[in-house]
């Protein structure tokens, strides 16, 4: 009896068909300007400008293993010859284009609690965006201690949380190549330039002072599956006091990456932006990097 049922079941499954795929026209994309920015300690503000692109552009391709954007498309997405200004107090500074898509303001004072307004006019595509950001008070790490426990890198940190509501981003960097930050000879580099030295990023964490028990913060960041053979003897741990909008954006990025079921079955995430009429973030936070030499 069991054999008969199984035979019939197998035969019917063999006779079954998968339905043919059906095409659908979805034409709901409008191109927007995208803003990225970074404050370099000193008086420099970098703004990267690109444009979003439609998935129907055949210079974009995606497979299970890789996502490819053709050089041609990349070039087209970089915003050239835009009029980019940053205004603060009563001053307006025009940024210079360093390379296609990258603009710099080289003498913009970095004052805590100052409101900065970014204006971008992309005349080529007739697009205009505005974004505002307040430079939050720099919060410095008091102590940092890194050590391995099993294959988990543990980063202990302490800092003082100022009175107002704050959100933080904690970044950890290392360099597997033995040069620049993390090299055996840390005296060769300048900690303030760590962003430009091609270092490898290990992990980040976002913190909200709503979860702190006191203004004197001490915590541990765990970076699992960390192969300490990758590092020579030094790490950079950087703390930034970030805006709530950016904190929410980063939290969503973390959630989306972690939750496989949400990725498969859940509703998609439309990420927030502080750019009016555009995408991305105009950021004015100032990181406080600290060097740590590991005892291997």
């Amino acid at each position: 009896m069991k054999k008969i049922i199984l035979t019939v079941a197998v035969l019917t499954s063999l006779a079954s068909c998968m339905p043919k795929e059906k095409s659908i026209k979805i034409d709901d994309f409008s191109q927007k300007l995208t803003v990225n920015s970074q404050v370099i300690p000193g008086d420099i503000m970098l703004v990267a400008l690109t444009r979003s692109f439609s998935l129907l552009d055949n210079r974009y391709s995606k497979s299970a293993d890789s996502t490819k954007i053709s050089e041609d498309l990349m070039k087209e997405l970089l915003v050239e010859d835009a009029l980019v200004t940053i205004s603060y107090q009563d001053k307006v500074d025009t940024l210079v284009m360093l390379s296609p898509g990258l603009y710099a303001g080289i003498q913009i004072p970095q004052n805590a609690n100052e409101l900065y307004t970014l204006n971008v006019n992309d005349n080529k595509k007739n697009m205009h965006v505005v974004a505002q950001s307040t430079m939050l008070e720099k919060v410095e790490l008091k102590t940092v201690n890194c050590y391995m426990k099993g294959d988990t890198l543990k980063v202990d940190y302490t800092f003082d949380d100022p009175a107002q509501r704050n959100n933080y981003m904690l970044n950890v960097y290392y360099n597997p190549n033995g040069s620049g930050i993390g090299s055996a000879n840390p005296s060769n580099w300048d900690v303030s330039n760590f962003l430009t030295q091609g270092n490898t990023y290990a992990s980040y964490a976002t913190l909200s002072d709503q979860n702190f028990e006191s203004s004197s913060v001490h915590g541990t960041m765990n970076i699992p599956d960390f192969d300490d053979a990758n590092i020579s003897d030094t790490l950079i741990v950087s703390l930034s006091n970030i805006s709530e909008d950016y904190y929410n954006y980063l939290s969503l990025r973390t959630k989306a990456g972690k939750n496989v079921l949400t990725q498969v079955f859940g509703e998609p995430i439309n990420y927030p932006s502080n750019v009016q009429g555009g995408l991305g973030f105009f950021l004015t936070h100032s990181p406080d990097p600290k060097l740590f030499i590991m005892n291997k």
Binding site: S23, D28, L77, L250, N270
Partner: protein, 759 residues
């Protein structure tokens, strides 16, 4: 105000005066063959318009306008009509009436036209109610030939399924958790097996299914959008009998018979899938199966007392053993329900019938994983202990009342996590606080016949839930009005408010083992829905056909959603991820239904809209609900060529479900400024509809001779005969000639063979 009170008093004293000149007959109606109680049998006082129907326990109470004697006529589709002369002396003694099945009736018995269930529903003030005949359900073709009452319900107007083949229902623009599904009074939390593809209800064990979409009568409550009342067979009081079936995915067997002839009977039914056995033949074994077990016992304690005990047990089980079948990972889950209810029917007197139930429901899941020295066990559990009592009071021909109350203690143990080994560094052991919620309700409902044209059914229900630091109370007024235009036409209108104190926590559109029921708390408020409906109904008694047209508008408060990217699994603080907002749903439903005859079935059409609004989602703007399908048309036709050969065909057309496609992307520096992330750009939430779809399913039924002791029937059919695509997902197709979007369907043409039998 004074006038209203005077009118009410007038009606009351008029009713009392009327009742003084009448007498009341009460009793139970049974199937002559099995002594199963017959639900919705029609009872009429001959020569008058005085009539009623039997309730869910086969009991009736009817008032005769005559002084001494009267003849009552009892009828039910498929049974011979029976007339009984009753005199007033028998007033206080409950009658026992046994109806004979038509094919067995003696030729000399006069066949009179019977009032069908369709007529009863037509004549009732209750709107949005559909009764599903079990014999038809068994003929309807479904995936792999498995009978499934939840999927049949999805073919009715106003009820939509989720993804293709899913058992979850979305009624009148509501959500999947807004349907109260009760089996012999016990709530069934998990209604599906195999990730939602098969319902947990074994059709051989089911006697009757009634679905109410609202507006609701006073005795219904606890969910916003629908009540599905499922009754199990009581068990044959006269002789031992059985039924069963062998299908492609599962087999089932039901046995029933007397424990004490004409006094007590039992019914047991079991079903088990053999998906695990099928997959053994493939390169990828899948040690998964599900099973169901139903049992019922009932005993007549006296002429006026009857006791029922019902139980249901069902589990989904996956057990992958580490190191076996090529798996390095030991993994599994057990997910299931256990419900049991003890009910006591008591005929207090000729006018009052009481049912009192003690109910226990248990829903739990356990997920375990093992890899080398690492162990993980996640479990969640809901336990309900409840009691309810429902009183039917037949005051007079004009006034019938229902009143009652219930209390249910819910005990929740969500997300208990136990880990061993290195995994405990990542996932700590946790045993969240047990949550308690005491849900309670009391109601009074009246059906009052103002005159021959106007019937009204006002009701008031007070519901509430007591949770830590908070006591919620909702006053739920309801009103039904029927205006009889002609003997066969009427107009109905209704309003109801419903409160709901439980939410389904699920981040997915399909049923997952990790889906969790969660009570209202201090922060999570109860969901509330108000519904208005207006309808027209016409009945063609000669051809047993009814036509109904209903329009509805439903507005909902505190409906639940989840924050974008919410992680609800292994999250003991998932309440922070839950959001509450508003929902609106409106539409129009059209149904032509014929329950009897050579050609039976229905045509149902729904035109509907459903939207949601949450401050935290979609920029706070209104967006369409996931299953906001504009058009939905189902035709179910059952044609009996001969007594032994019939065919059942289903044709469905529906608009596509909503989704949020990725339409673009942009580059963002990562948080450390050391690399670039490609960030997706989506449309606004649920902006795009997938393509509409249509599908034909067919089933041929060949029966053996009905006079045989062992009767068998072959079901040969196919789901999706012309291999149509019902899209469930959209993906991007990239190639040099141009990128495009394409939709995938899940089930194409699937033939099926099943053998059912009874003896």
């Amino acid at each position: 105000m004074k006038n209203s009170i005077s009118t009410l008093l007038f009606f009351y004293f008029f009713s009392v005066m009327m009742s003084a000149q009448t007498f009341t007959i009460n009793g139970n109606v049974y199937d002559d063959e099995s002594h199963e109680a017959i639900i919705y049998a029609s009872v009429f006082v001959q020569g008058t318009q005085y009539g009623t129907t039997t309730n869910k326990y086969g009991y009736f109470s009817i008032t005769s306008p005559t002084i001494d004697t009267c003849t009552i006529t009892l009828s039910y589709m498929g049974y011979a009509t029976q007339s009984i002369l009753v005199n007033k002396q028998a007033e206080f003694t409950p009658l026992k009436i046994y109806l004979k099945k038509e094919q067995l009736q003696l030729k000399q018995v006069e066949i009179k036209r019977k009032r069908s269930k369709l007529e009863e529903l037509h004549n009732s003030t209750q709107m949005g109610t559909i009764n599903l005949p079990m014999k038809d359900i068994k003929n309807i073709p479904l995936i792999a030939g498995e009978t499934d009452i939840l999927k049949v319900a999805q073919l009715l107007p106003g009820i939509q399924g989720g993804g293709e083949g899913q058992s979850r229902m979305f009624v009148r623009g509501g959500d999947a958790d807004q349907n109260l599904i009760i089996l012999d009074e016990a709530v069934v939390y998990n209604v599906s097996h195999l990730f939602g593809f098969f319902s947990v209800f074994n059709s051989d064990a089911i006697k009757d299914v009634t679905i109410v979409k609202g507006p609701f009568a006073g005795n219904y409550g606890g969910r916003l959008s629908s009540v599905m009342d499922i009754r199990m067979n009581d068990g044959n009081m006269k002789k031992f009998s059985g039924a069963g079936g062998v299908g492609l995915l599962s087999s089932r067997l039901t046995l029933q018979g007397p424990v004490w002839k004409n006094k007590a009977s039992f019914m047991v039914a079991g079903r088990r899938s053999y998906i695990d056995q099928l997959f053994k033949l493939t390169a990828t074994p899948l040690p998964y199966y599900f099973y169901d077990f139903n049992a019922k016992f009932n005993i007549l304690l006296s002429k006026k007392d009857r006791l029922y005990f019902s139980a249901y047990l069902g589990d989904d089980i996956l057990k992958v053993k580490e190191g076996k079948d090529g798996f390095d990972l030991g993994f599994g889950f057990v997910l299931g329900n256990f419900t049991n209810s003890l009910r006591w029917n008591r005929i207090v007197n000729e006018k009052v019938f009481v049912n009192t139930s003690i109910i226990n429901t248990n829903f739990s899941y356990k997920i375990n994983g093992k890899y080398e020295d690492n162990n993980l066990l996640i479990s969640s559990k809901v336990n309900d202990y409840g009691m309810k009592t429902d009183w039917d009071y037949n005051h007079s021909y004009r006034l019938k009342m229902k009143f009652g109350g219930q209390a249910i203690q819910h005990i929740f143990n969500p997300n208990v996590i136990s880990t061993k080994g290195e995994i405990s560094n990542l996932l700590a052991n946790s045993k969240p606080k047990v949550l308690y919620a005491l849900e309670y309700a009391a109601y009074a409902h009246a059906d009052y016949k103002i005159n021959d044209r106007i019937d009204i059914a006002p009701a008031l229900r007070l519901s509430g839930a007591y949770v830590t630091n908070k006591n919620y109370l909702i006053l739920e007024p309801r009103l039904g009005v029927k205006y009889t235009l002609t003997k066969h036409d009427n107009i109905k209108a209704g309003y109801s408010r419903m409160g709901q104190y439980m939410h389904l926590v699920s981040s997915s559109t399909v049923a997952l083992p990790t889906d969790l029921w969660y009570p209202v708390t201090e922060n999570m408020k109860p969901q509330i829905a108000d519904q208005l409906a207006l309808g027209y109904s016409h009945i063609f008694p000669k051809i047993n056909t009814s036509i109904t047209l209903e329009g509805y508008y439903k507005w909902m408060q505190n409906v639940t959603e989840y924050r974008e990217g919410a992680n609800l699994i292994l999250n003991n603080h998932f309440e922070k991820e839950l959001l509450q907002g508003k929902g609106d749903a409106y539409g129009m439903e059209f149904l032509v239904k014929r329950d009897e005859g050579k050609l039976s079935g229905w045509l149902g059409y729904t035109l509907s809209w459903s939207t949601r609004q949450f401050p935290e989602l979609n920029g706070g703007n209104v967006f369409p609900a996931k299953y906001d399908r504009r058009h939905n048309l189902s035709i179910v036709a059952n044609y009996k060529f001969t007594e032994r050969f019939s065919v059942c065909a289903v044709w469905v057309y529906m608009s596509g479900s909503r989704f949020t496609p990725q339409v673009g992307a942009y580059a963002m520096m990562n948080s450390s400024m050391t690399g670039i992330d490609l960030i997706p750009v989506y449309t606004t939430r649920n902006k795009v509809s997938m393509s509409p779809t249509n599908r034909l399913d067919i089933n041929f039924i060949f029966k053996s001779k009905p006079t045989k002791k062992f009767r068998g029937e072959w079901h040969v059919g196919a789901y999706n005969v012309y291999n149509s695509n019902t899209p469930y997902t959209v993906h991007l197709v990239t190639n040099e000639s141009g990128n495009s979007y394409s939709q995938r369907g899940l089930f194409g043409f699937i033939p099926s063979v099943a053998y059912n039998f009874e003896f």
